[in-house]
């Protein structure tokens, strides 16, 4: 059963089309990832799906309810963890959860039990009476995830759940996400620009760039589409070499990127001598060559001609979001 269905979802801000005609489905019980660089339209999509922004055109249904016409029903069925922290830092962890529980109309017994449950789930029971302003970044994130689960949502939206967290905390958050997906059967819709995150967590991903959905599929299918193995090499006279390799029928999806040539092959280890042989005959010098299993970054590269890491580099070099990238890598 499809729990989220979007029909030509579009959002324009003036001349800028932030989200362009998205149509996709998310299945019940899966962890679905929306993968794309910063500014691709991920957050705008989440804001529309969670009724915080009105689409310019198109619509979507969540658990059968229309996001424009049945906002209240949609809101009851979803939990959201926003990209920016959305906690009252002058209340304690427990008080933040109580606030949430009342806003969602949980009865007294349910409230009490549920607060205990979710605090246990994210290991914050000991810290329940500490003011949130004294929490670390990771603790805040965990509290928000706990809060998103309080009212038994059918779908939980996570917008960049591990942004700006260190590697260790990120691992822990991933574990919690997997756990609640398994234990509570919550469908999870998450956005990320971390490839490892999508690869580790998601069953299916959609790749979004400049507001457009480029592809949506199981992760294994996406990786197979680039080839069984990926070979990356640098060489002299790369233009000519690419032309030569393009004529070989075992070379798939060849791309040039930052002076490197990347392409997919089957049985990469066995192809390396062959490639070197071709290069030698043409008097081209190979400076380095490597073979590896394909990653989502290769998938992204094959669809857009760039890697998500480039995007990150550009954004952080502008200094705008540099703080967010301090941890994790």
């Amino acid at each position: 059963m499809d729990i989220i269905i979007t029909y030509g979802l579009t959002k324009k801000f003036g001349d800028l089309t932030a989200v362009n005609n998205l149509s996709f489905n998310v299945k019940k019980g899966e962890i679905f990832g929306f993968l794309g660089p910063n500014g691709a339209g991920k957050t705008t999509t989440i804001k529309m799906l969670t009724t915080l922004l009105n689409p310019t055109s198109g619509t979507a249904t969540i658990a059968g309810f229309d996001i424009i016409k049945q906002r209240d029903e949609v809101r009851k069925n979803i939990g959201v963890v926003f990209q920016e922290p959305a906690l009252d830092v002058e209340l304690t962890g427990k008080e933040n959860l109580e606030y949430h529980a009342r806003m969602y109309g949980l009865s007294r017994d349910k409230r009490k039990k549920r607060i205990n449950d979710v605090l246990e789930l994210v290991n914050l029971w000991d810290k329940r009476d500490v003011l949130v302003k004294n929490y670390s970044g990771g603790m805040k994130r965990r509290l928000e995830i706990a809060r998103g689960l309080m009212h038994y949502p059918v779908v939980l939206f996570l917008d960049e759940p591990t942004l700006g967290l260190d590697a260790q905390t990120r691992r822990a958050i991933w574990a919690y996400i997997k756990k609640m997906n398994k234990e509570e059967g919550t469908t999870i819709f998450l956005t990320t620009h971390y490839m490892e995150e999508a690869e580790y967590l998601c069953n299916r991903v959609g790749i979004i760039d400049y507001g457009k959905l480029l592809v949506i599929d199981d992760i294994s299918n996406l990786k197979n589409s680039v080839g069984k193995d990926v070979i990356t090499l640098s060489c002299t006279d790369a233009d000519r070499f690419v032309k030569i390799l393009e004529n070989e029928k075992w070379v798939e999806k060849i791309k040039r990127h930052e002076g490197l040539v990347t392409f997919g092959v089957e049985k990469g280890d066995e192809k390396i001598p062959e490639i070197i042989e071709i290069a030698r005959k043409q008097d081209i010098k190979i400076k380095s060559i490597s073979v590896r299993k394909p990653t989502l970054d290769d998938v992204f590269l094959s669809y857009t001609g760039r890697t998500i890491r480039d995007e990150e580099g550009q954004v952080s070099s502008k200094g705008r979001l540099s703080l967010r990238f301090r941890g994790g890598r």
Binding site: L52, L87, H100, M103
Partner: protein, 253 residues
């Protein structure tokens, strides 16, 4: 109204009370500032004789200071939506299955409660210092005025918060709009001593609130009968709250 909405209003109110009581320094500044005005102006102008001033200056000043305390505190509540916006908490509020109307009611009642507490502290101190209250009925009417003033100021704060995105503009508004309005409202000195002052005051919403407060609490030095003030204040209050709620409900995160 569904119980769900009542729950939401209650918890929004509770949140504000907790924040209010938890931070003693903030609470202290908000009480101490009007108290300074009261004690310093009160002792400085104790002997002053001005046209339009009947009885002692302390009696005249007390309602003005009570109004000032409520005004500042309520505006702060309205504008604190801006804080919630900045800290992202507003998203959590807006994504809940609760109508925008209840959200505004909850915040307004919360703001009014904290403002009234501060107003009463000032009033209590004023009474200890020996101001003469007109009557029991006058005191009840005073509380009505305090409530209306508070609602109006929360509404005004909401308007500001919906229209701006930073705190600098807030202090600009406080200094360039609220302070002059306060000085021209007869809070600190009678406006009847000068024709121009008086004409300006008639266009100042705050004037009716303070005049009404003074008429009901002290029963002296007021320009209009309190009931006339009450009608004007009610109209202003409804306009401000409606406009504030409308703009808030239109604002997107």
């Amino acid at each position: 109204m569904r119980t769900n909405e009542l729950q939401a209003i209650y918890i929004m109110w509770l949140r504000q009370m907790k924040r209010f009581l938890r931070f003693k320094t903030r609470l202290a500044t908000m009480v101490i500032q009007p108290l300074f005005f009261f004690l310093l102006l009160g002792s400085g102008f104790r002997q002053a004789v001005m046209p339009g001033l009947e009885g002692g200056y302390i009696d005249f000043l007390a309602p003005g200071i009570v109004a000032m305390a409520i005004l500042f505190s309520s505006m702060f509540t309205g504008v604190s939506v801006l804080w919630d916006k900045q800290f992202g908490f507003l998203q959590e509020v807006l994504v809940a299955p609760v109508s925008r109307f209840s959200i505004i009611i909850g915040r307004t009642i919360g703001g009014a409660t904290t403002a009234l507490i501060q107003g009463f502290i000032i009033l209590f101190i004023a009474i200890i210092l020996g101001i003469k209250i007109s009557s029991g009925a006058g005191l009840i009417l005073t509380i009505v005025f305090m409530l209306l003033l508070s609602f109006t100021a929360v509404g005004f704060g909401l308007i500001i918060a919906s229209k701006m995105n930073d705190f600098q503009s807030f202090s600009l508004i406080m200094n360039l709009i609220i302070m002059p309005l306060l000085f021209l409202s007869s809070a600190f000195f009678p406006v009847t001593q000068d024709k121009t002052l008086q004409t300006i005051a008639y266009f100042n919403p705050l004037f009716y609130m303070i005049d009404g407060l003074r008429g009901s609490l002290i029963g002296k030095s007021n320009v209009f009968p309190p009931l006339i003030d009450l009608i004007v204040v009610c109209i202003i209050c409804i306009i401000m709250l409606t406009l504030g709620s409308y703009l808030f409900s239109k604002s997107e995160v």
